[in-house]
């Protein structure tokens, strides 16, 4: 590094040596430059020759010497040039050349050619013109002519003998004279014109330089003015981009200029200030006049107040001249004092804000008070801070929070101060004012607390809420005179805040309690409701609740299943829509009744979702909401089962009545028919007695016969009745039997009678199997066949046909005869007990009653068909297939 530096320094110096010196004179500088180049060229050329000649031929050394000498002399001239001389080295150099050429030609006779010499001499004259001006050129032209004349003379005298002597040396000299003169004149003219143009350019340049100087001066003056001004200047575009900035001594930008230049205001300034600036820019541009406004910037050390003037520059650019007015009209001392106060205030503010922050964030009063005392204690660097609240009886101040260990132990002890005993806190609470003891031990009311032995000054501040002292804040310090008036004011302010926060916390707590109470009540209500819903869901009866419009608001599951609609389908609908069209008026009427506040109970038919009809009993009461009737609540009982029961009951009653009637008829019949023979017997016995007494024997035999006939009849009646009464009580277990078998049994029993009346019996082919009491069923067939035979009348070809038909409900059997037939009105009577159509026929009239009874006991029924007298009769009866009800 060092070496390189050194080397570069050396190179610099060499370059400096070979470069032209700078002159304030233009001509001189230009000539010096030219000379410098010429000299440099000569040094190189001379140095080259001094090396080349000896290499070419040894005998050339004089040339080398001359070249070397030239080189040295040229270096000397350069030194002169650097010394500030231009004309002298130029002159010496030209003289040297002008002398060297003819001398070299003379002595060495090498460049004997006059032409070569003349060419070199011409160059010398040109160089003289350039370096020394027109006169120099002339001088050297004259000198060259003179030197050539001398050479000519030497040639004429024979001292000089050039190898190429021109034919006419005299005329050659004249030509040279003219040539040299012309060159010199031209050079002089050129030189002058150049000088003139240079002079003109110089003048122009001078003028420019002058203007520039003036401008520079003006600028620097302006700068100086601006520098001394306290205002910083910003060039700002309409859009708020900061384009330029001129700083000011009294102004420190928020960020260094490179951070805001070319950027929009919003990136540098707070939003409110940005808005104000943009507004001012807009107004300034619009009204084309200066807008002034003030703003504030929060800076690290203190807030800065600024005054800005916004001046419109062109259509879209303004200049903002900003002055920091924070420290205006304040002496340094004032400012310092203010700063101190500010620092303290800001400390208070900081504490206050911290306290306030905790006040607003802590909603538990106890936690709030604890936080408050600790914050105040730490924030003010106090010894102890405690907070007392007056108890409900207003007799004591109870410590609610205390800072540090002392506070903890006092709280644990349940520290209280009686209000009627002297203490600073009690005094403060009684008087509603702060009490300050700058020398605590001297205060007359102060209560000495063993937990706080280091207290030297103390203040008690009242906690006042809505004009009532609710407690006090005690602050204690280990130094005397610790509390300035400002401290007390700040502490009092903080106390006031604390009171508000406490009130808020208490309100919140009570609100919270109320909320939880309400939630509990709501929960209970919810449970009650759940219970009610459960009950209603579990109820077998339908429960419906309607709203003030009479539409469903609630239906329970039982009602859903009763109607076949879901609750969702029903809610909002009118109950009348569900009623049977013929019953809708009932529903509407009931609703009107309930609207009048009456209870209703009515039966109605509802149409289920599937179209079925369901009978229900609706018992409704008005539903009250805020003492207003708002809909109704009704219990809906499904009467279907009841109806069925009722029908069943009615059927049973009917049956029972029928049975009763039958029984009555039976007893009546029995009493009548049984009495009849008795009357006969007694009657004729009476006559017998009478006749026997009067010895009239004419009628004896007849009467006796009558009596015995009546007795027989009575015997038969009693037997039949017994038989009838047995049916249903004394039955044989049913057996599966071919009906044909029964028919055969019966036929064998009545064979004699049928034969006596020549009755032909035909039995149908397909007779089914039945499950019956075989003996009884044989009795049935026997009676029917007997009957048929008995009432054949005067039928010449008596026939009886027995057969069966398969039907849906079992087998239908028939016994058909072609006898006398039965008139329609007697079709039912024939089955009655003791009913006889013909009094002269044999039998008691029990037969068909017995038949009916047996068939009915088997679960079948019996009836007869007859077209009337002489048309024959068909008895039909059914028997269940398979197992009968026996």
């Amino acid at each position: 590094m060092k070496l390189m530096a050194w080397r570069s320094r050396r190179l610099e110096r060499i370059r400096g040596f070979f470069s032209p010196p700078v002159f304030s004179d233009d001509t001189k500088g230009r000539r010096a430059k030219l000379l410098s180049y010429i000299l440099n060229v000569h040094i190189i050329v001379a140095l080259g020759f001094s090396l080349l000649y000896p290499l070419q031929a040894r005998e050339n050394w004089p040339f080398a010497v001359v070249a070397l000498a030239t080189c040295v002399s040229v270096l000397v001239l350069r030194v002169l040039l650097h010394r500030g001389q231009v004309t002298l080295p130029a002159f010496l150099f030209l003289c040297f050349l002008a002398l060297t050429l003819p001398l070299t030609a003379f002595f060495l006779s090498r460049t004997s050619s006059m032409n070569t010499l003349t060419a070199f001499q011409s160059v010398i004259i040109v160089m003289a013109g350039l370096l020394l001006g027109g006169r120099g050129a002339f001088g050297f032209a004259v000198f060259n002519l003179f030197a050539n004349g001398m050479l000519l003379y030497a040639e004429v005298q024979g001292f000089y003998n050039p190898s190429d002597t021109p034919p006419d040396s005299g005329s050659s000299l004249v030509v040279q004279a003219v040539t040299f003169t012309t060159i010199a004149v031209m050079l002089a003219v050129a030189n002058r014109s150049i000088r003139e143009s240079f002079a003109q350019a110089g003048n122009e340049l001078e003028k420019h330089r002058k203007t520039q100087d003036e401008l520079g001066q003006a600028t620097s003056t302006l700068r100086a003015v601006l520098d001394t001004l306290p205002d910083a200047i910003f060039r700002i575009s309409e859009s708020g981009e900061i384009q330029d900035y001129i700083p000011a001594k009294g102004f420190t930008p928020l960020v260094p200029p490179e951070e805001f230049l070319g950027k929009p205001l919003g990136e540098v300034l707070p939003p409110d200030v940005t808005r104000a600036v943009l507004r001012a820019i807009r107004l300034a541009l619009k009204n084309k006049r200066t807008e002034t406004f003030e703003y504030q910037l929060a800076r690290e050390e203190n807030p800065g107040y600024f005054e800005a003037r916004v001046v419109p520059m062109d259509r879209s650019t303004v200049m903002a001249i900003v002055r920091d007015v924070s420290g205006r009209a304040q002496t340094d001392a004032d400012r310092e004092a203010m700063l101190k106060v500010l620092a303290r205030r800001s400390a208070y503010l900081r504490i206050a804000s911290e306290v306030a922050k905790s006040y607003s964030s802590i909603l538990d009063p106890d936690a709030l008070m604890e936080q408050a005392v600790n914050l105040i204690q730490k924030g003010y660097g106090l010894y102890y801070v405690g907070l007392f609240l007056v108890d409900e009886k207003k007799q004591r101040a109870v410590l609610k929070a205390g800072s540090g260990e002392a506070g903890k132990s006092m709280l644990a002890e349940g520290h209280t101060l009686r209000l009627d005993e002297p203490s600073m806190v009690a005094w403060c609470i009684e008087n509603g004012r702060a009490r300050v003891a700058q020398q605590a031990q001297l205060d007359e009311v102060r209560h000495i607390n063993p937990h706080l032995p280091l207290t030297r000054s103390e203040a008690a501040l009242p906690l006042i809420s809505r004009g009532q002292v609710i407690g006090a804040l005690t602050v204690q310090d280990t130094d005397e005179n610790a509390f300035t008036e400002e401290d007390i004011i700040a502490l009092q302010t903080m106390s006031d805040q604390l009171v508000i926060a406490l009130e808020n916390a208490r309100l919140f707590e009570s609100a919270l309690n109320e909320l939880s109470e309400r939630q509990r009540a709501e929960h209970e209500l919810q449970q009650e409701r759940d219970f009610a819903v459960q009950v209603m869901s579990a109820l077998g009866q339908g429960v419906i609740v309607t709203d003030e419009n009479g539409n469903f608001e609630y239906v329970n599951p039982a009602y859903e299943s009763m109607t076949g609609y879901t609750a969702a389908q029903l809610i909002g609908k009118n109950p009348a829509e569900l009623a049977h069209p013929d019953d809708r008026h009932l529903v509407v009427a009931a609703r009107e009744h309930r609207r009048e506040g009456r209870m209703t109970s009515y039966e109605v038919r509802l149409l289920r979702a599937n179209g079925d009809v369901v009978h229900v009993l609706v018992t409704g009461t008005p539903r009250y909401r805020d003492a207003e009737i708002a809909g109704s609540i009704a219990v809906v009982t499904d009467l279907t089962e009841q109806k069925l029961n009722q029908q069943e009951r009615e059927a049973l009653i009917e049956e029972l009545e029928a049975k009763n009637a039958e029984l009555e008829r039976f007893t009546y019949t029995v009493s009548h028919d049984l009495k009849s023979p008795l009357i006969t017997i007694r009657g004729f016995l009476g006559y017998l007695e009478q006749d026997v007494f009067s010895r009239n024997t004419d009628r004896l035999e007849d009467d006796m016969k009558r009596i015995s006939g009546a007795v027989d009849k009575m015997q038969r009646l009693l037997d039949d009745l017994l038989e009838l009464s047995r049916i249903g009580r004394l039955m044989n277990p049913p057996e599966e039997i071919e009906f044909k078998t029964i028919v055969r049994d019966a036929l064998s029993l009545v064979e004699g009678r049928l034969a006596a009346r020549r009755v032909r019996v035909e039995v149908g082919g397909a007779l089914p199997k039945v499950s019956v009491d075989r003996a009884r069923m044989t009795e049935v067939m026997q009676n029917l066949l007997d009957n048929a035979a008995k009432f054949m009348g005067d039928q010449p070809d008596p026939r009886v046909e027995i057969g069966a038909l398969e039907t849906n409900d079992g087998c239908r059997f028939f016994v058909r005869d072609n006898g006398m037939g039965i008139e329609r009105q007697y079709h039912e009577r024939v089955f009655g007990l003791f009913n006889k159509l013909d009094p002269r026929t044999e039998g008691t009239g029990v037969g068909l009653a017995l038949v009916r009874r047996i068939i009915e006991v088997h679960g079948g029924r019996i009836w007869l068909e007859s077209e009337g007298a002489g048309k024959g009769t068909t008895f039909w009866f059914t028997l269940p297939r398979g197992k009968g009800k026996v």
């Binding site: 009546y668 009849s676 009357i679 009657g683 016995l685 009476g686 006559y687 009546a710 003791f834």
Partner: protein
């Protein structure tokens, strides 16, 4: 009392009872003329002069009818109802003479405008006394409507 014979129509299915009644009435020489029919249908035919009773000579109007209740074919109460609904026949006094003491029968009989309802006593003496009284009352004491024109 003595004079025009009283015609009695007895409707009684029980032959024995009919014999007893006839003997009683005969004993007391009450019924000069008595027709006995054995069932309700026949009685109606007789009174309406239908069938074999079509000739008014063979079916003179009775002055009083003794009607049993339990009758074959057409029940006594039915006969009573039909007679009492008939313009021509309803003025004929009808005495129900039956073994039935059933309340129902009594009620129905009176509903159908029966003139008297008498139960046959089982006891012979009582039966005799009843027939005496009945005979005297209806055939002697009671004014009967004279023969129709």
């Amino acid at each position: 009392m003595v004079g025009e014979p009283v015609r009695v129509l007895l409707v009684e299915d029980n032959d024995d009872h009919a014999e007893l009644i006839i003997r009683q009435l005969a004993d007391h020489r009450v019924a000069n003329q008595l027709v006995r029919l054995a069932d309700g249908q026949e009685a109606l035919d007789y009174l309406h002069r239908r069938g074999k009773y079509a000739d008014p000579a063979s079916s003179p109007r009775p002055h009083v009818i003794l009607l049993d209740l339990r009758l074959p074919r057409v029940d006594g109460l039915e006969v009573l109802r039909i007679l009492k609904e008939s313009e021509d026949l309803r003025m004929i006094p009808i005495v129900i003479l039956t073994t039935s003491e059933s309340e129902r029968d009594v009620t129905h009989a009176y509903i159908n405008h029966v003139n008297s309802y008498v139960v046959k006593p089982v006891d012979f003496q009582k039966f005799r006394a009843l027939m005496d009284d009945l005979g005297f009352y209806w055939m002697s004491w009671n004014m009967v409507q004279k023969d129709h024109p």
